[in-house]
Amino acid sequence: MKITAMPRLLVTGLSYAHLGPFDFYLAAGKTVFLTGPSGGGKSLLLRALADLDPWSGEILLDGRPCAGFTAPEWRRRVALLPAESQWWHDRVGEHFQVCPSADQLAALGFAAGVETWAVNRLSSGEKQRLAMLRLLRHRPAVLLLDEPSANLDRENRERLEKFIGDYQHRQGAAILWVTHDQEQPHRVVGRVYHLENGFLQEVQSA
């Protein structure tokens, strides 16, 4: 596994929506889990990191400040997977600029030809896995995942976890993973942060 001394994403004094300031970092090739009650600001934290909501403080990606990127560039490098993915064209394939390879599709449990499927016939679990695939099209350095396996059965959840792990290993991507699943931090190795009542605490070290 790739390990670099400098954190991929370094966050200093981050305040957003009456929360913060928070300091933390995400290391290359490592996963950090984020737990905490609903409504505690976990999803808002991911939105601030993807520069979708106003925030103050400093966010550095590989030492470069957020303001040094255009907003679309930043979001391609620091990619957010929302809890509920959106599909606005009729067919799956229209949402991909480059069609995913058969290997990638198979890794997530799809047969070839999924790109011709009608979006309105996808199950929530299928949408979730395809959204993961779509998220990788610009090869992001940081993945912000908002409960990516919430709608999945066990088999597909394991596929997805392996798929994400493989990508992380290849690209040295840093991952911030929001989860309500108590077991997840044990299956996938990583530090755990807990966000509750406006406090962000590291509750488990890798």
Binding site: A50, L52, A71, E73, R75, A79, L80, P82, W88, H138
Partner: protein
């Protein structure tokens, strides 16, 4: 040839029809009676007022007064655009964008038509300038307010789609592409429909008025064609500009969707 003059009595007689409609709407609980009577009264007063202003202006033909009237018409149309939105921009942005896009799309067209197409001496002769500008502004106002309303409504409804597209690294322009196309189309539809139906299903109001007032039909038709083409261009360009600027205003400098800039009217 002159039109048969209408008397106050004639108009009063016809106004009874609208009153009857208002009365019928009461038991049907359409809650339209007050609005209907109010709008009819307003229309009558406004048209009488502009009639007197035009009568005076035709005698004076002062460029300054014509310019002032044009600006007044433009600002009123801008205010009307803002008023027609269900969700509107805070801080006068709807008014500003509406007024600006109508100004850019209609004033040059009116100027071009008056100087080069009609070519009257002087070009600002109010008998041509005021009605021409009025037609252009009125239709541009409809197009712009329809397109604008559709834009704000759709972005509000589809904000998750727009934000998901931003998350995937699209810029604000791409993220709005489908919504923008649909908004511009809905702004232009009335104009396209009016052109398609003109002469077969409907006789356009301007031409009808001219013929009733005694013009030879072919002259009236030629002016109607001129006006319809101008209207199509004016409201089309106006809608495109307004939807573009309105879309941009929904995002901040970091291309974040800022729906808190809208308020429910």
């Amino acid at each position: 040839m002159n039109a048969a003059p209408l008397t106050t009595f004639d108009l009063t007689l016809v106004s009874l029809l609208v009153l009857a409609l208002a009365l019928v709407s009461l038991p049907l609980r359409l809650e339209l009676a007050a609005q209907l009577v109010g709008a009819a009264l307003r229309m009558t007063l406004q048209l009488l007022l502009i009639g007197f202003i035009l009568k005076w202006l035709f005698g004076a033909a002062e460029p300054l007064w014509i310019a002032l009237l044009a600006i007044f018409m433009l600002l009123s149309a801008g205010r009307e655009i803002d008023r027609r939105q269900k969700r509107r921009f805070q801080g006068g942005w709807g008014f500003a964008i509406g007024t600006f896009s109508m100004f850019v799309s209609t004033f040059p067209l009116a100027l071009f038509t008056l100087t080069l197409v009609i070519g009257n001496q002087p070009w600002y002769e109010p008998r041509y300038a005021v009605p021409l500008l009025g037609m252009l502004l009125g239709n541009a106002m409809n197009g712009v307010s329809l397109g604008f309303d559709r834009l704000l409504h759709n972005v509000w409804q589809q904000r998750q789609v727009v934000e998901n597209r931003l998350m995937l690294g699209e810029d604000w322009f791409e993220a709005l592409s489908e919504i923008r196309r649909e908004s511009i189309r809905s702004g232009l539809m009335p104009t396209i429909n009016a052109m398609t139906a003109a002469g077969i299903i409907s006789l356009p109001g301007m031409m009808t008025g001219q013929i009733l007032a005694g013009s030879p039909p072919l002259e009236a038709v030629k002016y109607q064609i001129l006006i319809m083409l101008l209207i199509a261009a004016g409201s089309g360009f106006g809608t495109i500009i307004a939807v573009f600027l309105g879309g941009r205003r929904l995002f901040d400098g970091r291309q974040r969707l800022r729906l808190e800039r809208l308020t429910l009217s």
